[in-house]
C-alpha cells in the first residue's frame, strides 16, 4: 500500500480504466499539459486520440461526449471548474439525463463529466460553486462527490465502467489529502454510503470536504463524552438512504452537513427523508449545517464563515445533545 494524494488517485483511475477499455477517452480543458494536476502523463501514454484538449465550448463538448457515448464510446469530460457546467446545462439536462428514458431504452449515455469545486479559496461568486445539489433534482444523472483519495479512485473507476451518465465533483479542499491505496484494482460501488466512524449518540452526515471536518468534530466530541457516527454518502444520487436511516434509528440524533447552499441542498433532502421515516425515533430536532443562501464573496473575511467548519459541526452536535433524554 502506498500513500497517494487525491489528484494522483484520479489520474491513476483514468490510466487504469483507459488501459483496460479502448472505448474510454478523456476530453477536457487543458488536460494535455495537466494544468489541474489529475492528467499527468496521460497524453504521453495514450496519445492525442484518447487525451484531447477541447476549445472553450462547453455545450458542444459535453454534448459531443454524449453523442460519442450513444454510438459506443465511453467519454470522460474534464470541464475543470464546476460552474463551467452551466453553459452546457441544456445538454446535461435535456439530452444526457433524458436520452435513455425518452428514447425508450434504445440508447445509453455512459459518460463521466468531471469538474472541480474551488470553494473557500477566494475565487468569488462565479468560481466557487458546489452545484451537485442543483443537478440532484434531475432524474437520470448519477452524482458522485468523494471525500478522500481512496474513494475518489474507486468511485471514478466505477463511474467510468457504469452505463449511466455520471457527474463527478472533485472538492479542491481535498487535493492535499492522502490515502493508503492498494496496488490491486478495486472499485467502490456508487449508491453505497461509507460509515467513516462508528458512534452511538449522534449521526453526522457529511459530504466531500466536510467529511474530514466531521471526523475532526467527532474526535473533539469524544473528549466531551459524545459518541458521533460519521456517514459519507459518497454518491448523492443515488443516495444511500438505508445506511443513514439504520444509523439514525440507533442514535436518534441527526446532523446533516453540506457545503452547498441550504435551500434544496443534499442536507435538506436527507433531513426530510430522515424526518419522514424516523419521526418517532428522534430524540432531538434534525439540524443542518450548510452554506447560507448568499453568494460567495471574494474577501476571505466574508467567505470563510459561510461554509461548515469543525466548530460549526461540533456546535450542531452539542445542540442535538442538549435535548438529552427529553422527548421533543
Amino acid at each position: 500500500m502506498a500513500k497517494t494524494n487525491y489528484l494522483s488517485a484520479l489520474r491513476d483511475a483514468m490510466a487504469e480504466t483507459m488501459r483496460e477499455d479502448p472505448r474510454v477517452f478523456l476530453m477536457g480543458e487543458d488536460v494535455e499539459l495537466n494544468v489541474y494536476g489529475s492528467s499527468q502523463g496521460l497524453h504521453a501514454e495514450f496519445g492525442a486520440d484518447r487525451v484531447m484538449d477541447v476549445p472553450l465550448s462547453e455545450a458542444a463538448v459535453i454534448g459531443a461526449a454524449a453523442g460519442a457515448a450513444m454510438v459506443g464510446m465511453r467519454p470522460v469530460v474534464d470541464i475543470t471548474i464546476s460552474p463551467f457546467l452551466y453553459p452546457a446545462a441544456d445538454q446535461i439536462i435535456s439530452i444526457i439525463a433524458k436520452a435513455h428514458y425518452m428514447y425508450g431504452g434504445q440508447t445509453r449515455v455512459p459518460l463521466v463529466i468531471r469538474s472541480c469545486m474551488f470553494y473557500n479559496v477566494n475565487n468569488a461568486a462565479q468560481h466557487s460553486d458546489r452545484p451537485y445539489s442543483l443537478f440532484m433534482s434531475i432524474p437520470g444523472l448519477k452524482i458522485v462527490v468523494p471525500s478522500d483519495p481512496y474513494d475518489a479512485k474507486g468511485l471514478l473507476k466505477a463511474a467510468i465502467r457504469d452505463d449511466d451518465p455520471v457527474l463527478f465533483f472533485e472538492d479542491v479542499n481535498l487535493w492535499g489529502s492522502n490515502s493508503e491505496i492498494p496496488e490491486a484494482d478495486y472499485e467502490i460501488a456508487m449508491g453505497k454510503a461509507a460509515i467513516k466512524r462508528t458512534g452511538t449518540d449522534v449521526t453526522v452526515f457529511a459530504i466531500a470536504g466536510t467529511v474530514p471536518m466531521a471526523l475532526k468534530a467527532a474526535a473533539e466530541m469524544e473528549k466531551e463524552g459524545v459518541s458521533v457516527e460519521v456517514i459519507d454518502p459518497r454518491t448523492v444520487k443515488p443516495l444511500d438512504v438505508a445506511t443513514v436511516l439504520a444509523s439514525v434509528a440507533r442514535t436518534g440524533r441527526f446532523v446533516a452537513v453540506d457545503p452547498a447552499h441550504r435551500t434544496g441542498s443534499v442536507a435538506s433532502e436527507i433531513a426530510a427523508t430522515v424526518g419522514e421515516h424516523l419521526y418517532d425515533k428522534l430524540k432531538a430536532p434534525i439540524l443542518r449545517v450548510t452554506a447560507p443562501d448568499v453568494h460567495i464573496p471574494f474577501a476571505g473575511s466574508m467567505e470563510k464563515g459561510l461554509f461548515p467548519s469543525v466548530q460549526s459541526i461540533s456546535a450542531a452536535v452539542r445542540k442535538t445533545m442538549s435535548y438529552r433524554d427529553s422527548a421533543i
Binding site: 454524449a66 453523442g67 454510438v71 439530452i95 428514458y101 425518452m102 428514447y103 445509453r108 455512459p110
Partner: protein, 328 residues
C-alpha cells in the same frame, strides 16, 4: 443501402410515406386520438428524403421537433412510429417520447430533440465516435433556420471543423421560427454563408427538388467519408402547415408567398420530372401511392390495437442500473 433503393422511385415512395403518415396523424390528432403537439413536415419532404438517401443505412441522423419525416426518410418502419404518436407500449420509444422525440436507433436515427439547437452536439459526438472507431459512418444533422441562431450551432460547426468530423449539417430553412421570419431572426439572407466562418463548404440548394438535395448531400457525404470534414447545406424550403397542430392560424405569412411555395410541392415536382423523363408512368406512381396508403392504414391499425403502457413503466429506463429502487 443497395443502389436500386436510391432510385428516384424510392425517393418518391419515402416522400409519399411522410406525407400520408402525417396526414393520418393529423386526422387522428383532430379526433383526439393523438394528444400533444404535432409538427408536420408537409412541404419539406424533398429536403428530408434527398438528404437521407445520400446516406448509407448504417449512417447516423439527428433531427428536431419536426420529427416524423426524418426517421421515415432514414428508413424507419411506420408501425412503431405511429404507435409512439398514440402513446402506446409498442411505440418506438415505448410511449416515452411522443411526436417531438421520435428515434429509431435500428436505422441510425439517434433521436429527434425538441429543445431547438440541442441536437447539434449529439451529431458532432456521433461524428467524433465514428472517427475514433474508424467506422466510416457519417452523421446527418437536420436543423431549422431558427436553430442557426442558437449558440450550439456555432460551437458545433467550430468543433466539427476543427476536428474534421464526418458530419453534414443540413439546414431546413423554411423561413420561419414559429411566426418569426428568418429575416427578423437571422443576420444574413443565406445561412450557408456562415460556413465560411468555420472554414468549411457551404451549399445552398432548392429544398423542393429532392434530386438536387440528394446530389449536394452526396457531395458532402463523400467529403466527410474521405476524412475532409463537415459541410453546411442550406435547403430553401417551406412548411405548408402551421408550426404545430394546436396553434391558431396567424397572419405572419403573406398569402401569395404561401401560394407560390405550395405550387412547388416537392412530391408533385418529382412526379412531373419522372413523367417527363419517362422514368415512371403516372400509373406506377399511383400504385406507389396506394401501397403507401395501405402501409399507413396498417400502421394506424397497429397503433390503435396496441395497449397503453402500464403506469409502472414510468419508472423504467430512468437509469440503465438505478442501483436503488426508484419507487419507495
Amino acid at each position: 443501402m443497395d443502389p436500386a433503393s436510391r432510385t428516384p422511385l424510392e425517393m418518391y415512395r419515402r416522400m409519399v410515406r411522410i406525407r400520408l403518415f402525417e396526414a393520418a396523424a393529423t386526422r387522428l390528432g383532430a379526433r383526439g386520438e393523438i394528444t400533444g403537439a404535432l409538427h408536420t413536415a408537409t412541404g419539406q419532404e424533398g429536403e428530408i428524403v434527398g438528404a437521407c438517401m445520400a446516406l448509407h443505412a448504417d449512417d447516423y441522423m439527428v433531427g428536431n421537433h419536426r420529427s416524423h419525416g426524418h426517421p421515415i426518410g432514414k428508413g424507419a418502419g411506420l408501425n412503431k412510429l405511429m404507435a409512439e404518436l398514440l402513446g402506446r407500449s409498442t411505440g418506438v420509444n415505448r410511449g416515452k417520447g411522443g411526436s417531438m422525440h421520435l428515434a429509431d436507433f435500428s436505422v441510425g436515427s439517434l433521436g429527434e430533440t425538441s429543445i431547438v439547437g440541442s441536437g447539434f452536439p449529439t451529431a458532432v459526438g456521433a461524428g467524433l465516435g465514428a472517427k475514433l472507431q474508424k467506422s466510416g459512418r457519417v452523421t446527418l444533422c437536420f436543423f431549422g433556420d431558427g436553430a442557426s441562431s442558437e449558440g450550439t450551432f456555432h460551437e458545433s460547426l467550430n468543433l466539427a471543423a476543427l476536428w474534421k468530423l464526418p458530419v453534414i449539417f443540413l439546414c431546413e430553412n423554411n423561413g420561419y421560427a414559429i411566426t418569426t421570419s428568418a429575416r427578423k431572426g437571422v443576420s444574413v439572407p443565406d445561412i450557408a454563408v456562415r460556413a465560411a466562418g468555420y472554414g468549411i463548404p457551404g451549399h445552398i440548394v432548392d429544398g423542393q427538388d429532392v434530386l438536387a438535395v440528394f446530389e449536394v448531400t452526396r457531395t458532402a457525404v463523400l467529403r466527410a467519408r474521405a476524412g475532409d470534414g463537415p459541410s453546411l447545406i442550406e435547403a430553401k424550403t417551406y412548411r405548408f402547415n402551421e408550426h404545430a397542430s394546436a396553434l391558431p392560424k396567424l397572419n405572419y405569412r403573406p398569402a401569395d408567398e404561401i401560394e407560390r411555395w405550395r405550387a412547388r410541392d416537392p412530391i408533385a415536382l418529382l412526379s412531373k420530372h419522372l413523367a417527363a423523363t419517362g422514368l415512371a408512368a403516372t400509373a406506377v406512381l399511383e400504385a406507389i401511392d396506394a401501397e403507401v396508403q395501405s402501409e399507413v392504414d396498417a400502421a394506424v391499425s397497429f397503433a390503435q390495437s396496441s395497449p397503453s403502457p402500464d403506469p409502472a413503466e414510468a419508472y423504467d429506463h430512468v437509469f440503465v442500473d438505478p442501483i436503488v429502487p426508484l419507487r419507495s
